[in-house]
Amino acid sequence: MSNEKPKTISSISDSNSSSIFYPIISIIGLIFLWWAVVEAFDIPEYVLPGPFATFHEIILDWPELWHGFTSTGQEFVYGFIIGSLVGFVLAVIMANSKLLNKILYPIMIVSQAIPVIAIGAALVIWLGFGLAPKLVIIALIVFFPVLINVLDGLQSVDVDMLNLSKAMGANRWRIFLTVQLPATYVPLFSALKMSATFSVTGAVLAEQTASSQAGLGQYMMAQASRLNTKGTFAAIILFAIMGLLAFSLVSVWERLATPWKQHSKVPFYRQARIAHRDIPSSQVK
């Protein structure tokens, strides 16, 4: 009875140290490729500046770029949080009411079918050029994947598990917290990873349609209109960094929030504390 050995998947969790190594290698490789292409084809700087020229430009114009980075980053973070929250709450509402689901679903689709630029134009009229229209635009882009994935997660919960919880006398709120909510984590993080990169795009679009302040998108457009390719690329690099940063943060959070995906045992702080007990020798080996 006791000779069943558990299958473990510890090999997956052993890859922790290399999880940072490979991305760094591939990004260095990408930069090298960029450099090689510029060198090999002797591309002039006003068409495509090489990596060194671009990084030089970043250093030269650092104060203004940093300012742009932080103000765009701020829009990005707020928009991301608002969009994710709205998507999540809508998913919970729609999963719990068939009627609201039927009413809201088409509206959600329409919200994605209308080009964001068009919505942006209207938003400027309603909300002006401040932070508000930009947040709305980013949130509009972010909420949809979150909504769809969380809805999927909620609906994938086994009906029998819900019945069993009910049979054990749990109320709806308990069932939601214990059985349904954790079932959304895996799809939620898939969505958040997608959204993390989408919302950078959202931030640029938002600044193009609804901005008067000095964001990174604004900076980029200004440089482009002056045909300053180096400056344009400097902004592009910072956008890439922003996207990578957001994606990495979400990934780290995901690893912490969904330990059962990588490990065979719960993290130490959740482990049974039986050290102080005499473990009986009846534990057949």
Binding site: M1, E4, D160, N163, K265, R270, A272
Partner: protein, 251 residues
């Protein structure tokens, strides 16, 4: 013996189709009843009604002389699937039955740990379900049902997915737990041998519409061990039940 559970003229109709015809059954305190019958004869439906999850079309469920029709939370229920939560460890899963209604106490925790240790899960307290074998998952699900401390247990094919060796030891284990804890058990199975081996009474059900065909008293001594499986009387019970299910009575 006192009556523990009364199923009083219960029936269930799904969309005009009778899944469970009017059914009555009285179960004594501490009795172990097994229910056999082909797929679709309403065994799970009956369990869902007893557990208060499913509303019967007609009839009542009485436990300890109290009408508990449509009132969940009065019986321990183990479904055909193990239904362990993938994000919880074995220990956390065993405690789910408790934590769904209140915060587990230190005593709950210690009881769960000692039960898990006694029943062969001591080394896997911290494991996620995906890292455990089918037999262990089933054991964890069973312990969760035991931890949800009710004197009536509904077990819907708890050992259906296990290999025959593990299954036999689980059956002996169940008899031991039952003898120790004196709970009232209703046990669904497809396996006629299992049904006779465990039961005080075997309820034979037939489909279209689902109903109780016959209830057979199993007059075999306890405690039972696997040697009984070849006993003349045991084989006779088995044949009788197989004939009832497959209608092979014409000889």
């Amino acid at each position: 013996m006192t009556e523990k559970l009364l199923i009083d003229n219960v029936s269930k109709t799904f969309n005009g189709k009778i899944s469970l015809d009017t059914t009555s059954l009285s179960v004594s305190d501490g009795e172990l009843i097994t229910i056999v019958g082909p797929s679709g004869c309403g065994k799970s439906t009956l369990f869902n009604i007893i557990s208060g999850v499913l509303q019967p079309t007609e009839g009542n469920v009485i436990i300890n002389d109290k009408d508990v029709t449509n009132v969940p939370g009065n019986v321990g229920y183990m479904m055909q699937k193990d239904l362990l939560l993938p994000w919880k460890s074995t220990l956390e899963n065993i405690l789910t039955g408790v934590s769904l209604t209140r915060k587990p106490t230190k005593e709950d925790l210690e009881l769960a740990i000692s039960m898990a240790q006694e029943y062969g899960l001591g080394d896997y307290l911290d494991n996620f379900p995906h890292s455990m074998s089918g037999g262990m998952r089933q054991r964890a699900a069973f312990l969760r049902t035991l931890m949800f401390d009710r004197d009536v247990l509904l077990l819907d094919e708890p050992f259906g997915a296990l290999d025959s060796q593990t299954r036999l030891s689980m059956q002996e284990w169940l008899l031991k737990v039952w003898a120790e804890q004196r709970r009232t058990v209703l046990f669904v199975t497809h396996d006629v041998e299992e049904a006779v081996f465990l039961a005080d009474r075997v309820v034979v059900m037939t489909p279209r519409p689902g109903r109780i065909e016959k209830i057979i008293d199993i007059d075999l001594p306890r405690p039972r061990t696997r040697t009984i499986l070849t006993d003349q009387k045991f084989v006779e019970y088995k044949r009788m039940i197989l004939n009832l299910i497959y209608g092979g009575g014409k000889e």
